[in-house]
Amino acid sequence: MGILLDSIKMAFSSLLAKKARSFLSMLGIVIGILTISSLLSLAFGVRSEVEKTITDLGTNLVAVTPGKQLSEEGGANLAAQFGQSTLTEEDFLAIKAEVIDAKKISVALLLTGTTRVGGTVSNSASILAGSPGFEEIFNLSLDRGRQLNQDDEDTNARVVVIGPKTAQKLFPDQNPLGKILEIRSTEFTVVGLFKKIETASNIGGPDFNDVVMMPIHTGWEITNTKSVFRIAMQAPDAESVERIKKEVKDVLLRTHKGEEDFSVLTQKDLLKVTGGVLDIMTALLGALAAISLLVGGIGIMNIMLVSVSERTREIGIRKAVGATQGAILLQFLIESMILTLLGGLVAISFFTFAISLIPADSPIPIKLNWGVLTLSLIFSALVGIIFGLIPAIGAARKHPIDALRYE
């Protein structure tokens, strides 16, 4: 223990003796650790944002989408997102009839087209047709007005509920209730306004803040199809999610005559798909950061090699008065470790400070993560050990007599 404390003291005094040099080589590590901690925090931020979005979709959700979303290897199948829907009203009715304990079984159709109010056109709003219950499953609560109801379904009513973003765009600073908008040359009356959802980016689905929703029968009528974009339902509890999924699959396999051209997804499945993509992103960002840390580490190694060479005589003196190879090794390792650890500390303090400057409502999904900070510190110490090792071994192996004679 004693020699450790002495080594730390000696390291500080020799680092302080060469302030400019220590500072500059530390700077490389500061930049490296700063890169690591910000990129990793960003990766984790995006990940938790995405996962929150999926969990926010609703509890115990089971959704049927057209096409095969998950390939056999568990990856995402893009064609399923864009192809012609393979689901129909028949599937919906069959599920409704046979999967008895699923709740709020509802259906939605995604329409292509634009929404128009006089001269104002919104291209971004997703036009959705949904059966009653759809809004409940996706936690779409009302800001004002009313939800679509069975009456609207039965009469193919030309009514819509719109998202807050859409309302702001089409009816800036006005009460949208009772206003008329036009979709595919058909006029609709706005009867309700959805409340704003914080995590708006819904993976693989529409942005519910920018949405126009009409009754499903109305949708079928104006598109002249019976096709379905999504069938969603809620399992009675978390334990029965997998069972409901299986039942739905069995029903659909029968109505589709054995061909599995649809997917039954739970939130777990969605997390799996997005998780795979996020893993790749995290790995890429991590690799980028590692390169910058590598450069910093090479700087440390360079400066330690110079230092060992300059201090050959000191090494000789220390050996003459009884320093073992181990003691010399420890001294130089601790010196490079202190250099990189200090660099790491500076980097994470700077990073913490920078994060505190980002406003709370900023769209950048970067948050302080203690795991990342701890990891950064461990990395900085590791860089000190790894890149300090060769110079320290060189120092420890110097022959005392040669070292003492070194000019």
């Binding site: 000696m10 003196i317 220390r318 050996k319 003459a320 008065v321 009884g322 073992t324 003691a327 022959h399």
Partner: protein, 219 residues
Amino acid sequence: MIKVESVSKIYKTGDSEFKALDNVSVEIKKGEFVAILGPSGSGKSTLMHLIGGLDKPTKGTIEVDGQILNNLNDKQLATYRNQKIGFVFQFFNLLQGTNTLTNVTLPLVYSKKKFNRKTKAVEILKEVGLEHKLKNRPNQLSGGEQQRVSIARALVNDPDIILADEPTGNLDSKTGLQIFELLNQLNANGKTIILVTHDNSLAEKAKRIIRVKDGGIEV
């Protein structure tokens, strides 16, 4: 008791060999004050390095107080240098940039003995008359003062043997004499002193002279 028995030391550089010591045998008893005298390149420094455990002989054995140095590994040799030997060098070999106190306590960093380092160092510095220069760095001290710091460093761990390699070689004759007197006094207090020098008149002041020439001992 130091026993050097049929010791040879051969340095190899590439294909050429240099025999620094050739079959040397010598004994130094505890408490002796011995001068090893010889011209430069005679092998006297090599002999001192071998006795001091800084190097190992190519042939022969070196035994100090019953311990055969040939058999010691790096760690044991370091402990031997730390506990048994105090080195005093011609060019002082103090750590530049660190003060007197830190220089004197340096061997204690590598020692297992539990001294209060500062108390011990101040006590020794009083013996060499430098207790008022604790905070001075080597470049703020005269040559004689620096050599006294290095003697204090050699003494701080209470070794039995002081190995002094041309300790006065870099000092004026008056200061050199003072340093010699200091060594003499240490010898009176029971330390074994081995003084390596090429200076005849200095060697003659020691109690015994071992003359080294061309890697051998002249009797």
